[in-house]
Protein backbone atom coordinates (compact mmCIF):
# COMPACT_ATOMS: atom_id res chain seq x y z
CA UNK A 1 0.00 0.00 0.00
CA UNK A 2 2.46 2.58 1.16
CA UNK A 3 5.65 3.34 -0.79
CA UNK A 4 7.76 2.88 2.34
CA UNK A 5 10.33 0.08 1.64
CA UNK A 6 11.00 -2.65 4.18
CA UNK A 7 13.99 -2.33 6.51
CA UNK A 8 16.07 -5.07 4.87
CA UNK A 9 15.14 -3.85 1.47
CA UNK A 10 16.54 -0.44 2.38
CA UNK A 11 19.77 -2.03 3.67
CA UNK A 12 20.07 -4.09 0.50
CA UNK A 13 19.50 -1.12 -1.77
CA UNK A 14 22.03 0.93 0.15
CA UNK A 15 24.76 -1.68 -0.42
CA UNK A 16 24.09 -2.62 -4.04
CA UNK A 17 23.55 0.16 -6.49
CA UNK A 18 21.84 -2.08 -9.00
CA UNK A 19 19.40 -4.93 -9.29
CA UNK A 20 20.43 -8.48 -10.04
CA UNK A 21 18.06 -9.43 -12.80
CA UNK A 22 20.06 -10.73 -15.75
CA UNK A 23 19.57 -7.83 -18.11
CA UNK A 24 22.24 -6.19 -20.28
CA UNK A 25 21.89 -3.04 -18.20
CA UNK A 26 22.47 -4.86 -14.91
CA UNK A 27 25.46 -6.72 -16.35
CA UNK A 28 27.02 -3.37 -17.12
CA UNK A 29 26.14 -1.96 -13.70
CA UNK A 30 27.60 -4.92 -11.84
CA UNK A 31 30.97 -3.84 -13.26
CA UNK A 32 30.67 -0.08 -13.30
CA UNK A 33 29.04 0.37 -9.88
CA UNK A 34 31.50 -1.84 -8.01
CA UNK A 35 34.71 -0.16 -6.93
CA UNK A 36 36.78 -3.34 -7.35
CA UNK A 37 35.24 -4.66 -10.53
CA UNK A 38 35.22 -1.32 -12.29
CA UNK A 39 38.89 -1.88 -12.92
CA UNK A 40 37.38 -3.65 -15.93
CA UNK A 41 35.55 -2.12 -18.85
CA UNK A 42 31.88 -3.09 -18.96
CA UNK A 43 32.41 -5.09 -22.11
CA UNK A 44 35.43 -6.88 -23.51
CA UNK A 45 36.21 -8.31 -26.89
CA UNK A 46 35.93 -12.04 -26.96
CA UNK A 47 39.56 -12.63 -27.97
CA UNK A 48 40.65 -10.99 -24.71
CA UNK A 49 38.95 -13.79 -22.78
CA UNK A 50 40.99 -16.52 -24.40
CA UNK A 51 43.57 -18.02 -22.07
CA UNK A 52 45.37 -19.08 -25.24
CA UNK A 53 45.92 -15.37 -25.86
CA UNK A 54 46.60 -13.80 -22.42
CA UNK A 55 47.76 -16.93 -20.55
CA UNK A 56 46.09 -15.19 -17.56
CA UNK A 57 49.58 -14.23 -16.43
CA UNK A 58 49.02 -10.57 -15.56
CA UNK A 59 45.99 -11.31 -13.41
CA UNK A 60 47.70 -14.21 -11.67
CA UNK A 61 50.77 -12.07 -10.98
CA UNK A 62 48.48 -9.61 -9.21
CA UNK A 63 46.82 -12.48 -7.34
CA UNK A 64 50.23 -13.64 -6.09
CA UNK A 65 50.94 -10.08 -4.96
CA UNK A 66 47.71 -10.13 -2.95
CA UNK A 67 48.62 -13.52 -1.46
CA UNK A 68 51.98 -12.17 -0.28
CA UNK A 69 50.35 -9.05 1.14
CA UNK A 70 47.84 -11.04 3.20
CA UNK A 71 50.29 -13.69 4.41
CA UNK A 72 52.98 -11.05 4.87
CA UNK A 73 50.79 -9.07 7.26
CA UNK A 74 50.12 -12.25 9.24
CA UNK A 75 53.84 -13.01 9.45
CA UNK A 76 54.56 -9.47 10.64
CA UNK A 77 52.59 -10.18 13.82
CA UNK A 78 55.16 -12.79 14.81
CA UNK A 79 58.43 -11.41 13.50
CA UNK A 80 60.86 -8.87 14.96
CA UNK A 81 63.60 -7.60 12.62
CA UNK A 82 66.63 -7.70 14.88
CA UNK A 83 69.59 -10.03 14.66
CA UNK A 84 68.87 -11.23 18.19
CA UNK A 85 65.23 -12.18 17.60
CA UNK A 86 64.65 -12.73 13.87
CA UNK A 87 65.82 -16.33 13.70
CA UNK A 88 64.11 -17.30 16.96
CA UNK A 89 60.88 -15.82 15.64
CA UNK A 90 61.27 -17.89 12.47
CA UNK A 91 61.69 -21.04 14.55
CA UNK A 92 58.65 -20.14 16.64
CA UNK A 93 56.64 -19.49 13.49
CA UNK A 94 57.54 -22.92 12.21
CA UNK A 95 57.08 -24.92 15.39
CA UNK A 96 54.87 -22.99 17.85
CA UNK A 97 52.47 -20.72 15.99
CA UNK A 98 49.38 -22.52 14.66
CA UNK A 99 49.60 -22.54 10.87
CA UNK A 100 52.78 -20.44 11.10
CA UNK A 101 54.70 -22.76 8.79
CA UNK A 102 51.81 -22.78 6.36
CA UNK A 103 51.63 -18.98 6.28
CA UNK A 104 55.36 -18.79 5.70
CA UNK A 105 55.18 -21.38 2.92
CA UNK A 106 52.34 -19.54 1.20
CA UNK A 107 54.33 -16.32 1.43
CA UNK A 108 57.54 -17.74 0.05
CA UNK A 109 56.10 -19.94 -2.70
CA UNK A 110 53.64 -17.19 -3.65
CA UNK A 111 56.55 -14.79 -4.01
CA UNK A 112 58.51 -17.25 -6.14
CA UNK A 113 55.43 -17.87 -8.26
CA UNK A 114 54.98 -14.13 -8.67
CA UNK A 115 58.51 -13.74 -10.04
CA UNK A 116 57.96 -16.52 -12.58
CA UNK A 117 54.47 -15.33 -13.53
CA UNK A 118 55.70 -11.76 -14.08
CA UNK A 119 58.43 -13.05 -16.39
CA UNK A 120 55.92 -15.14 -18.33
CA UNK A 121 53.55 -12.15 -18.48
CA UNK A 122 56.34 -10.11 -20.06
CA UNK A 123 57.04 -12.95 -22.49
CA UNK A 124 53.43 -13.17 -23.63
CA UNK A 125 53.12 -9.37 -23.95
CA UNK A 126 56.22 -9.37 -26.11
CA UNK A 127 55.19 -12.33 -28.27
CA UNK A 128 51.76 -10.82 -28.94
CA UNK A 129 53.32 -7.45 -29.81
CA UNK A 130 51.22 -5.78 -27.13
CA UNK A 131 53.89 -3.18 -26.33
CA UNK A 132 53.37 -1.54 -29.72
CA UNK A 133 51.58 1.81 -30.02
CA UNK A 134 49.63 3.01 -28.14
CA UNK A 135 50.95 0.82 -25.29
CA UNK A 136 54.66 1.79 -25.27
CA UNK A 137 54.44 3.61 -21.95
CA UNK A 138 52.62 0.81 -20.17
CA UNK A 139 55.31 -1.64 -21.27
CA UNK A 140 57.81 0.63 -19.52
CA UNK A 141 55.64 0.68 -16.39
CA UNK A 142 55.61 -3.10 -16.61
CA UNK A 143 59.41 -3.25 -16.74
CA UNK A 144 59.50 -1.13 -13.57
CA UNK A 145 57.06 -3.56 -11.93
CA UNK A 146 59.22 -6.49 -13.01
CA UNK A 147 62.20 -4.84 -11.34
CA UNK A 148 60.19 -4.06 -8.21
CA UNK A 149 58.96 -7.65 -8.03
CA UNK A 150 62.54 -8.90 -7.94
CA UNK A 151 63.57 -6.26 -5.41
CA UNK A 152 60.63 -7.23 -3.20
CA UNK A 153 61.74 -10.83 -3.38
CA UNK A 154 65.36 -9.92 -2.77
CA UNK A 155 64.67 -7.77 0.31
CA UNK A 156 62.46 -10.52 1.74
CA UNK A 157 65.23 -13.06 1.25
CA UNK A 158 67.26 -11.63 4.16
CA UNK A 159 64.50 -11.66 6.76
CA UNK A 160 64.71 -15.34 7.90
CA UNK A 161 68.23 -14.49 9.09
CA UNK A 162 69.64 -17.92 8.34
CA UNK A 163 72.84 -18.79 6.49
CA UNK A 164 70.99 -18.94 3.16
CA UNK A 165 69.61 -15.43 3.71
CA UNK A 166 72.74 -13.79 4.97
CA UNK A 167 75.09 -15.01 2.27
CA UNK A 168 72.68 -14.57 -0.61
CA UNK A 169 72.25 -10.94 0.41
CA UNK A 170 76.01 -10.60 0.89
CA UNK A 171 76.60 -11.83 -2.66
CA UNK A 172 73.84 -9.60 -4.00
CA UNK A 173 74.82 -6.42 -2.23
CA UNK A 174 78.51 -6.91 -2.99
CA UNK A 175 77.49 -6.02 -6.53
CA UNK A 176 76.56 -2.56 -5.24
CA UNK A 177 80.12 -2.15 -3.94
CA UNK A 178 81.27 -2.52 -7.57
CA UNK A 179 79.09 0.30 -8.90
CA UNK A 180 81.22 2.65 -11.00
CA UNK A 181 82.00 5.81 -9.02
CA UNK A 182 79.52 5.01 -6.23
CA UNK A 183 80.89 1.72 -4.90
CA UNK A 184 84.22 1.48 -3.10
CA UNK A 185 85.38 -1.44 -5.24
CA UNK A 186 84.05 -0.06 -8.52
CA UNK A 187 85.99 1.79 -11.19
CA UNK A 188 86.28 5.49 -10.39
CA UNK A 189 86.05 5.00 -6.61
CA UNK A 190 89.29 6.96 -6.16
CA UNK A 191 87.79 9.88 -8.05
CA UNK A 192 84.74 10.12 -5.83
CA UNK A 193 86.56 8.97 -2.69
CA UNK A 194 83.80 6.63 -1.53
CA UNK A 195 84.82 4.12 1.11
CA UNK A 196 83.40 0.92 2.52
CA UNK A 197 81.39 3.08 4.94
CA UNK A 198 80.12 5.71 2.52
CA UNK A 199 79.34 3.90 -0.75
CA UNK A 200 76.00 2.68 -2.11
CA UNK A 201 76.40 -0.73 -0.49
CA UNK A 202 76.74 1.00 2.89
CA UNK A 203 73.58 2.95 2.03
CA UNK A 204 71.74 -0.32 1.36
CA UNK A 205 73.12 -2.16 4.38
CA UNK A 206 73.42 0.69 6.85
CA UNK A 207 77.08 -0.26 7.31
CA UNK A 208 79.96 -2.11 5.73
CA UNK A 209 78.43 -5.58 6.07
CA UNK A 210 75.16 -7.46 6.58
CA UNK A 211 74.19 -6.84 10.20
CA UNK A 212 71.44 -5.46 12.40
CA UNK A 213 71.12 -2.23 10.44
CA UNK A 214 70.82 -4.13 7.15
CA UNK A 215 68.08 -6.35 8.60
CA UNK A 216 66.04 -3.33 9.67
CA UNK A 217 66.53 -1.58 6.33
CA UNK A 218 65.54 -4.63 4.32
CA UNK A 219 62.54 -5.15 6.61
CA UNK A 220 61.25 -1.62 6.10
CA UNK A 221 61.97 -1.75 2.37
CA UNK A 222 60.26 -5.13 2.10
CA UNK A 223 57.19 -4.47 4.22
CA UNK A 224 56.47 -0.81 3.60
CA UNK A 225 58.51 1.08 1.05
CA UNK A 226 58.60 -1.31 -1.92
CA UNK A 227 54.96 -2.49 -1.55
CA UNK A 228 53.82 1.15 -1.60
CA UNK A 229 55.92 1.91 -4.68
CA UNK A 230 54.82 -1.29 -6.41
CA UNK A 231 51.15 -0.60 -5.61
CA UNK A 232 51.47 2.85 -7.09
CA UNK A 233 52.93 1.49 -10.31
CA UNK A 234 50.28 -1.23 -10.40
CA UNK A 235 47.53 1.39 -10.23
CA UNK A 236 49.11 3.16 -13.17
CA UNK A 237 49.64 -0.13 -15.03
CA UNK A 238 46.03 -1.29 -14.71
CA UNK A 239 44.62 2.13 -15.44
CA UNK A 240 46.72 2.45 -18.58
CA UNK A 241 45.60 -0.97 -19.81
CA UNK A 242 42.12 0.52 -20.05
CA UNK A 243 43.13 3.96 -21.24
CA UNK A 244 45.26 2.47 -24.00
CA UNK A 245 42.28 0.56 -25.37
CA UNK A 246 41.82 -2.47 -23.14
CA UNK A 247 43.47 -5.83 -23.66
CA UNK A 248 45.37 -5.74 -26.93
CA UNK A 249 44.03 -7.66 -29.84
CA UNK A 250 44.05 -7.94 -33.60
CA UNK A 251 42.82 -4.88 -35.51
CA UNK A 252 39.08 -4.51 -35.00
CA UNK A 253 38.35 -2.84 -38.30
CA UNK A 254 39.91 -2.49 -41.71
CA UNK A 255 40.73 1.15 -41.03
CA UNK A 256 42.46 0.13 -37.79
CA UNK A 257 44.44 -2.44 -39.72
CA UNK A 258 45.43 0.15 -42.31
CA UNK A 259 46.52 2.58 -39.58
CA UNK A 260 48.43 -0.14 -37.75
CA UNK A 261 46.24 0.24 -34.66
CA UNK A 262 45.39 -2.72 -32.53
CA UNK A 263 41.94 -3.60 -31.37
CA UNK A 264 40.28 -3.26 -28.01
CA UNK A 265 38.06 -0.56 -26.59
CA UNK A 266 38.94 3.01 -27.37
Amino acid sequence: MSARPGFWRQVYDSVFRHKFGDTPRNRMLQITSNVFLHLHPATVRRHGLRLRYTWGMGGLSFLMFLVTVVTGVVLMFYYRPTAATAYIDMKNLQHEIPFGMFQRNMHRWGAHAMVILVWLHMLRVFLSGSYKPPREFNWGVGVVLLTLTMLLSFTGYLLPWDQLARWAITVGTNMAAATPFLGHQGPGAQLTGVTERTDVRALLLGGPQVGDAALLRFYVLHCVFLPLIASTFMIVHFWRVRKDGGISGPPATDSDAAAGRSGGQS
Binding site: L63, V67, K132, F154, A165, G183, G186, V210, S248, Q265
Partner: protein, 244 residues
Protein backbone atom coordinates in the same frame (compact mmCIF):
# COMPACT_ATOMS: atom_id res chain seq x y z
CA UNK B 1 34.30 4.84 -14.65
CA UNK B 2 33.58 4.82 -18.33
CA UNK B 3 30.11 4.22 -19.56
CA UNK B 4 29.91 1.68 -22.36
CA UNK B 5 30.44 3.53 -25.60
CA UNK B 6 30.95 2.10 -29.01
CA UNK B 7 32.20 -1.10 -27.43
CA UNK B 8 28.92 -2.90 -27.89
CA UNK B 9 28.97 -2.20 -31.57
CA UNK B 10 32.11 -4.26 -31.97
CA UNK B 11 31.04 -7.58 -33.43
CA UNK B 12 32.79 -9.75 -30.86
CA UNK B 13 32.19 -7.69 -27.70
CA UNK B 14 30.67 -9.47 -24.72
CA UNK B 15 29.76 -8.18 -21.27
CA UNK B 16 32.54 -8.43 -18.73
CA UNK B 17 30.03 -9.77 -16.24
CA UNK B 18 29.85 -12.71 -16.30
CA UNK B 19 32.19 -13.67 -19.14
CA UNK B 20 35.50 -12.29 -17.84
CA UNK B 21 34.70 -12.23 -14.12
CA UNK B 22 33.85 -15.91 -14.26
CA UNK B 23 37.22 -16.77 -15.79
CA UNK B 24 39.03 -14.65 -13.20
CA UNK B 25 37.21 -16.41 -10.38
CA UNK B 26 38.03 -19.86 -11.73
CA UNK B 27 41.66 -18.94 -12.39
CA UNK B 28 41.93 -17.54 -8.87
CA UNK B 29 40.47 -20.69 -7.33
CA UNK B 30 42.74 -22.92 -9.39
CA UNK B 31 45.87 -20.92 -8.59
CA UNK B 32 45.09 -20.69 -4.87
CA UNK B 33 44.35 -24.43 -4.73
CA UNK B 34 47.69 -25.23 -6.33
CA UNK B 35 49.56 -22.81 -4.07
CA UNK B 36 47.81 -24.14 -0.97
CA UNK B 37 48.60 -27.74 -1.87
CA UNK B 38 52.22 -26.84 -2.63
CA UNK B 39 52.50 -24.99 0.70
CA UNK B 40 51.14 -27.98 2.62
CA UNK B 41 53.49 -30.41 0.89
CA UNK B 42 56.73 -28.41 0.66
CA UNK B 43 58.25 -26.39 3.48
CA UNK B 44 60.19 -23.19 2.83
CA UNK B 45 63.88 -23.66 3.62
CA UNK B 46 65.40 -22.51 6.91
CA UNK B 47 69.07 -23.26 7.49
CA UNK B 48 71.18 -22.62 10.59
CA UNK B 49 71.24 -19.12 12.04
CA UNK B 50 73.21 -16.50 10.11
CA UNK B 51 76.91 -16.64 11.02
CA UNK B 52 79.23 -13.92 9.68
CA UNK B 53 82.27 -16.10 10.44
CA UNK B 54 81.19 -19.08 8.35
CA UNK B 55 80.98 -18.47 4.61
CA UNK B 56 79.20 -21.28 2.77
CA UNK B 57 80.80 -22.51 -0.45
CA UNK B 58 79.25 -21.84 -2.85
CA UNK B 59 77.40 -18.70 -1.71
CA UNK B 60 74.53 -18.41 -4.11
CA UNK B 61 72.39 -15.34 -4.70
CA UNK B 62 68.58 -15.87 -4.80
CA UNK B 63 67.77 -18.06 -7.79
CA UNK B 64 66.26 -15.23 -9.87
CA UNK B 65 69.59 -13.38 -9.72
CA UNK B 66 71.73 -16.42 -10.53
CA UNK B 67 71.89 -15.40 -14.18
CA UNK B 68 73.73 -12.27 -13.09
CA UNK B 69 75.93 -14.24 -10.68
CA UNK B 70 76.79 -16.60 -13.54
CA UNK B 71 77.98 -13.58 -15.53
CA UNK B 72 80.49 -12.93 -12.73
CA UNK B 73 82.48 -15.89 -14.06
CA UNK B 74 83.11 -13.95 -17.25
CA UNK B 75 82.88 -10.27 -16.28
CA UNK B 76 84.03 -8.07 -13.41
CA UNK B 77 81.34 -7.17 -10.85
CA UNK B 78 80.89 -3.60 -12.06
CA UNK B 79 79.86 -4.99 -15.46
CA UNK B 80 78.01 -8.15 -14.44
CA UNK B 81 76.33 -6.72 -11.36
CA UNK B 82 75.69 -3.10 -12.25
CA UNK B 83 76.14 -2.05 -15.87
CA UNK B 84 74.59 -5.08 -17.58
CA UNK B 85 71.51 -5.24 -15.28
CA UNK B 86 70.98 -1.52 -15.81
CA UNK B 87 71.21 -2.00 -19.57
CA UNK B 88 68.77 -4.93 -19.38
CA UNK B 89 66.18 -2.75 -17.62
CA UNK B 90 66.70 0.29 -19.85
CA UNK B 91 66.94 -1.87 -22.96
CA UNK B 92 63.64 -3.59 -22.17
CA UNK B 93 61.98 -0.21 -21.64
CA UNK B 94 63.37 1.02 -24.96
CA UNK B 95 61.93 -1.87 -27.00
CA UNK B 96 58.63 -0.19 -27.99
CA UNK B 97 60.49 2.89 -29.21
CA UNK B 98 63.01 0.89 -31.25
CA UNK B 99 60.74 -1.73 -32.79
CA UNK B 100 58.89 0.33 -35.39
CA UNK B 101 57.37 -2.64 -37.19
CA UNK B 102 53.60 -1.93 -37.11
CA UNK B 103 52.71 -5.56 -37.81
CA UNK B 104 52.02 -8.14 -35.14
CA UNK B 105 50.30 -5.71 -32.76
CA UNK B 106 47.84 -7.70 -30.67
CA UNK B 107 48.27 -11.20 -32.07
CA UNK B 108 50.89 -13.92 -32.22
CA UNK B 109 52.96 -14.02 -35.36
CA UNK B 110 56.46 -15.19 -36.04
CA UNK B 111 56.32 -14.63 -39.78
CA UNK B 112 55.68 -10.88 -39.56
CA UNK B 113 58.41 -10.13 -36.99
CA UNK B 114 61.02 -12.89 -37.01
CA UNK B 115 63.91 -10.61 -36.00
CA UNK B 116 62.24 -9.04 -32.96
CA UNK B 117 60.97 -12.36 -31.65
CA UNK B 118 64.26 -14.11 -32.38
CA UNK B 119 66.27 -11.51 -30.46
CA UNK B 120 63.88 -11.49 -27.52
CA UNK B 121 63.74 -15.27 -27.21
CA UNK B 122 67.52 -15.45 -27.47
CA UNK B 123 67.81 -12.99 -24.59
CA UNK B 124 65.00 -14.44 -22.49
CA UNK B 125 65.88 -18.12 -22.86
CA UNK B 126 69.57 -18.06 -23.72
CA UNK B 127 70.86 -15.21 -21.59
CA UNK B 128 68.41 -15.23 -18.69
CA UNK B 129 66.71 -18.61 -18.10
CA UNK B 130 69.62 -20.85 -19.15
CA UNK B 131 72.24 -19.22 -16.87
CA UNK B 132 69.73 -19.39 -13.99
CA UNK B 133 69.32 -23.13 -14.55
CA UNK B 134 73.12 -23.49 -14.69
CA UNK B 135 73.48 -21.51 -11.47
CA UNK B 136 70.80 -23.45 -9.63
CA UNK B 137 71.68 -26.96 -10.75
CA UNK B 138 75.24 -27.04 -12.05
CA UNK B 139 77.34 -24.84 -9.77
CA UNK B 140 79.09 -26.28 -6.73
CA UNK B 141 82.03 -25.44 -4.45
CA UNK B 142 84.41 -22.86 -5.88
CA UNK B 143 81.67 -22.09 -8.42
CA UNK B 144 82.97 -25.10 -10.34
CA UNK B 145 80.70 -27.02 -12.65
CA UNK B 146 79.04 -29.95 -10.88
CA UNK B 147 76.32 -31.93 -12.63
CA UNK B 148 73.27 -32.35 -10.38
CA UNK B 149 74.16 -36.01 -9.80
CA UNK B 150 77.79 -35.32 -8.87
CA UNK B 151 78.57 -35.18 -5.14
CA UNK B 152 80.09 -31.89 -4.00
CA UNK B 153 82.58 -33.71 -1.73
CA UNK B 154 84.74 -34.56 -4.72
CA UNK B 155 87.11 -31.62 -5.14
CA UNK B 156 87.36 -30.14 -8.61
CA UNK B 157 90.46 -28.66 -10.09
CA UNK B 158 90.63 -24.92 -9.59
CA UNK B 159 90.19 -22.53 -12.48
CA UNK B 160 92.73 -22.69 -15.25
CA UNK B 161 95.08 -19.79 -15.53
CA UNK B 162 93.44 -17.29 -17.82
CA UNK B 163 95.26 -14.92 -20.11
CA UNK B 164 94.33 -11.51 -21.45
CA UNK B 165 93.40 -11.40 -25.11
CA UNK B 166 96.04 -8.80 -25.92
CA UNK B 167 98.75 -10.96 -24.32
CA UNK B 168 97.46 -13.98 -26.20
CA UNK B 169 97.80 -12.06 -29.44
CA UNK B 170 101.06 -10.45 -28.37
CA UNK B 171 99.89 -6.88 -28.88
CA UNK B 172 99.94 -3.84 -26.53
CA UNK B 173 97.17 -3.79 -23.90
CA UNK B 174 95.81 -0.49 -25.25
CA UNK B 175 94.82 -2.25 -28.47
CA UNK B 176 92.14 -3.97 -26.37
CA UNK B 177 90.27 -0.68 -26.37
CA UNK B 178 90.56 -0.59 -30.15
CA UNK B 179 89.09 -4.08 -30.32
CA UNK B 180 86.11 -3.03 -28.19
CA UNK B 181 85.65 0.10 -30.30
CA UNK B 182 85.90 -2.02 -33.46
CA UNK B 183 83.18 -4.31 -32.11
CA UNK B 184 80.78 -1.40 -31.63
CA UNK B 185 81.75 0.21 -34.93
CA UNK B 186 80.35 -2.89 -36.63
CA UNK B 187 77.02 -1.16 -36.08
CA UNK B 188 78.25 1.82 -38.09
CA UNK B 189 79.58 -0.37 -40.87
CA UNK B 190 76.28 -2.21 -41.10
CA UNK B 191 74.48 1.15 -41.26
CA UNK B 192 76.61 2.38 -44.14
CA UNK B 193 76.03 -0.88 -45.95
CA UNK B 194 72.30 -1.35 -45.40
CA UNK B 195 70.88 2.07 -44.53
CA UNK B 196 68.77 2.22 -47.66
CA UNK B 197 66.88 -0.96 -46.89
CA UNK B 198 63.26 -0.29 -45.84
CA UNK B 199 63.76 -1.66 -42.32
CA UNK B 200 66.72 0.59 -41.52
CA UNK B 201 65.41 3.63 -43.37
CA UNK B 202 62.20 3.38 -41.34
CA UNK B 203 64.24 3.20 -38.14
CA UNK B 204 66.33 6.32 -38.75
CA UNK B 205 69.82 7.10 -37.51
CA UNK B 206 69.15 7.76 -33.82
CA UNK B 207 66.96 4.76 -33.20
CA UNK B 208 69.34 2.60 -35.22
CA UNK B 209 72.36 3.71 -33.18
CA UNK B 210 70.65 2.84 -29.91
CA UNK B 211 69.39 -0.48 -31.29
CA UNK B 212 72.83 -1.39 -32.61
CA UNK B 213 74.48 -0.52 -29.27
CA UNK B 214 72.06 -2.67 -27.30
CA UNK B 215 72.21 -5.60 -29.72
CA UNK B 216 76.02 -5.56 -29.91
CA UNK B 217 76.24 -5.41 -26.11
CA UNK B 218 73.85 -8.33 -25.91
CA UNK B 219 75.87 -10.29 -28.45
CA UNK B 220 79.12 -9.41 -26.67
CA UNK B 221 78.04 -11.43 -23.63
CA UNK B 222 78.06 -14.87 -25.30
CA UNK B 223 81.10 -13.78 -27.34
CA UNK B 224 83.13 -13.12 -24.19
CA UNK B 225 81.86 -16.40 -22.74
CA UNK B 226 83.07 -18.22 -25.86
CA UNK B 227 86.48 -16.51 -25.65
CA UNK B 228 86.79 -17.65 -22.04
CA UNK B 229 85.60 -21.20 -22.58
CA UNK B 230 87.53 -21.82 -25.80
CA UNK B 231 90.70 -19.72 -25.38
CA UNK B 232 90.83 -19.06 -21.60
CA UNK B 233 90.70 -15.32 -22.26
CA UNK B 234 90.45 -13.32 -19.03
CA UNK B 235 90.00 -9.77 -20.29
CA UNK B 236 89.69 -8.28 -23.74
CA UNK B 237 90.67 -4.82 -22.62
CA UNK B 238 92.82 -4.06 -19.59
CA UNK B 239 93.23 -0.52 -18.28
CA UNK B 240 94.53 0.83 -14.97
CA UNK B 241 90.97 1.75 -14.00
CA UNK B 242 88.76 -1.03 -15.24
CA UNK B 243 88.90 -4.28 -17.19
CA UNK B 244 86.48 -5.54 -19.79
Amino acid sequence: MSAPRDDETLPDAVTTWPHLVRIELLATLAALSLLTAWSILVDAPLEEVADPNRTPDPSKAPWYFLGLQELLVYFDPWLAGVVLPTLIILGLMAIPYLDRNPLGNGYYTLRQRPFAIGVFLFGFVGLWIAPILIGVFCRGPGWNWYWPWEPWEIAKSPHLTNINLTDLLGIPAAIGGVLVAAWYSLGGVFWLWRRRTPALAQLGGGRYALTAFLLLTMAAVPLKMALRLLLNVKYVWVTPWFNV
